[in-house]
């Protein structure tokens, strides 16, 4: 298992590259992604909290998982510029699960991340975070429900869709997208 973290030393924030590596290692193991090298690049110049993941080909074989994260995604919001282990795990867990979904099949027809609609992204995030909870990572469910409602409407149908996705396992992209579309249509 190869995990690289960039930068190794932070100058804008008090983050610990080793801690990021350890958290990633634990998640990679739990998600069965040991065969894929993982690189994590942290943009410490911004306090925003966006994250993205890309899978790169190596001689025609999808191999490397490249993660890019803005520093706010790993930050302890109570103590600005300090790292939160839980935020680190939640962020890395979300992107690693999206990578895993694409790698292990069932998500072949999913658009590239930057072409996902806000509703599709909210549905996929819900699916990822629901599974992270079952891996033992502590998250605030209401936060993700609110995000889902913002993208699918504030309705009972949207809430039912959220609950179904949150509890789901083994969904395909087609199934996930259909639940999201149906909730939005209501």
């Amino acid at each position: 298992m190869t995990i690289t973290v960039t930068p190794q030393t932070f100058s804008y924030v008090s983050f610990d590259a080793d801690l990021i590596g350890r958290v990633a290692q634990s998640l990679v193991g739990a998600l069965g992604l040991e065969d894929h090298p993982v690189s994590i690049e942290v943009d410490e110049t911004t306090p925003l909290a966006r994250s993205s993941v890309a899978l790169s080909d190596d001689m025609g074989v999808v191999d490397n998982i490249s993660i890019r994260v803005e520093s706010g995604a790993f930050e302890d919001t109570r103590r600005p510029r300090q790292q939160s282990e839980n935020a680190t795990a939640t962020t890395l867990g979300r992107v690693l699960l999206r990578a895993r979904d694409r790698l292990l099949g069932g998500f072949g027809e999913a658009p590239p991340d930057d072409e996902l609609s806000l509703a599709q992204m909210a549905a996929w995030e819900t699916y990822c975070v629901g599974r992270l909870v079952r891996l033992g990572i502590e998250v605030n469910q209401q936060r993700w429900r609110y995000n889902f409602r913002n993208r699918h409407g504030f309705s009972d149908a949207a809430d039912a869709a959220f609950d179904r996705i949150w509890a789901g396992d083994g969904l395909t992209w087609g199934e996930l997208d259909e639940i999201s579309r149906a909730a939005s249509a209501t």
């Binding site: 030393t9 306090p47 520093s71 992204m121 995000n147 913002n150 504030f154």
Partner: protein, 298 residues
């Protein structure tokens, strides 16, 4: 109980972590435009990919801001004696304060007590809304801005709290109300509109008292308005609130007019907010250069 409580001693339970504006501004990171890579608009609207998080973070800011506004209004009830309060005057004299300069009209204190109740309700509303949005009490560091509420001159306090802080609240609530409306959130728009109504009243109260108390003292009024200008700039949080699309929070011109701001006063606030935004950009560039040179020197 002391008069003029220091801002560093505002009592909080263990969930809160308070930081100063200085701490906040020492952060070299920025969300502002850099080489055109970042979005030119940071305005809080549902179409922003991070809208839910940004709204939740802003709601926490409102929540702690309401706590501080509650504390400020409450302290004004306590810190200044009413002109005819002989017993309090004797107490103050015994404590070495016999200036009488801090006496305020009884009706002004009643308005501040009313404001304390309003702010207490706003804290209650913010807690409920935060919960609704998946927020947690104390999850974001609290920026202490109550220095404006600690002035020993009641007129400066009115200018700082009722006109600058509550004026900022008008801008924030208007942004949040529009966000709730666009997102279709059934509670957010409803609650923000109620709070906005209160804030317009508070700003108007401040404007009216400021004029009344300084009616025959143009020098004192000038000083108060200058103080308000300083606080307005401070409350622009380095450009978080301005007319520019780069700022998440806009300037709510219409509601400010309802609250008693003149056109030229609104223009002045627009100007200082924009200046704060530009100063923040310069400061961030400086801080980033310093951080880079420290890194290179390792």
């Amino acid at each position: 109980m002391r008069k003029f409580f220091p801002v560093e001693e505002l009592a909080r339970d263990g969930r809160f972590n308070q930081i100063t504006m200085k701490d906040r501004m020492a952060d070299p990171r920025t969300v502002l435009g850099k080489d055109g890579v970042r979005p030119s608009s940071n305005r809080l609207v549902p179409s922003r990919p991070d809208a839910s998080t940004a709204a939740r973070v802003l709601m926490h800011g409102i929540f702690v801001g309401e706590i501080q506004a509650l504390e400020g209004a409450g302290r004004t009830c306590h810190d200044f004696r009413t002109a005819g309060d002989q017993a309090r005057r004797a107490q103050d004299a015994a404590a070495g304060d016999d200036s009488g300069a801090d006496a305020v009209p009884f009706a002004l204190k009643l308005d501040m007590a009313r404001q304390a109740w309003d702010e207490a309700r706003h804290v209650e509303i913010s807690v409920k809304l935060s919960d609704w949005m998946g927020g947690e009490i104390g999850e974001i560091a609290e920026n202490t801005v109550l220095q404006a509420a600690c002035s020993t001159d009641p007129v400066l306090r009115l200018a700082g709290v009722n006109r600058a802080l509550e004026g900022l609240a008008i801008d924030v609530f208007t942004t949040m109300k529009e966000f709730g409306d666009l997102a279709g959130d059934p509670f957010l728009e409803f609650c923000e509109d109620w709070m906005l109504a209160d804030e317009v009243t508070h700003v108007k109260m401040g404007s009216d008292w400021l004029r009344k108390v300084t009616e025959n003292d143009p020098e004192r009024r000038k000083k108060a308005l200058e103080f308000q200008g300083i606080v307005d700039k401070l409350f622009s949080y380095g450009g978080t609130r301005s007319d520019s699309e780069e700022s998440p929070i806009g300037l709510a011109r219409r509601f400010r007019e309802l609250a008693g701001f003149t056109d030229s006063e609104v223009e002045d606030i627009a100007e200082v907010s924009l200046a704060a935004l530009n100063e923040r950009k310069d400061a961030v560039a400086r801080l980033q250069a310093e951080a880079a040179s420290q890194f290179a020197g390792r």
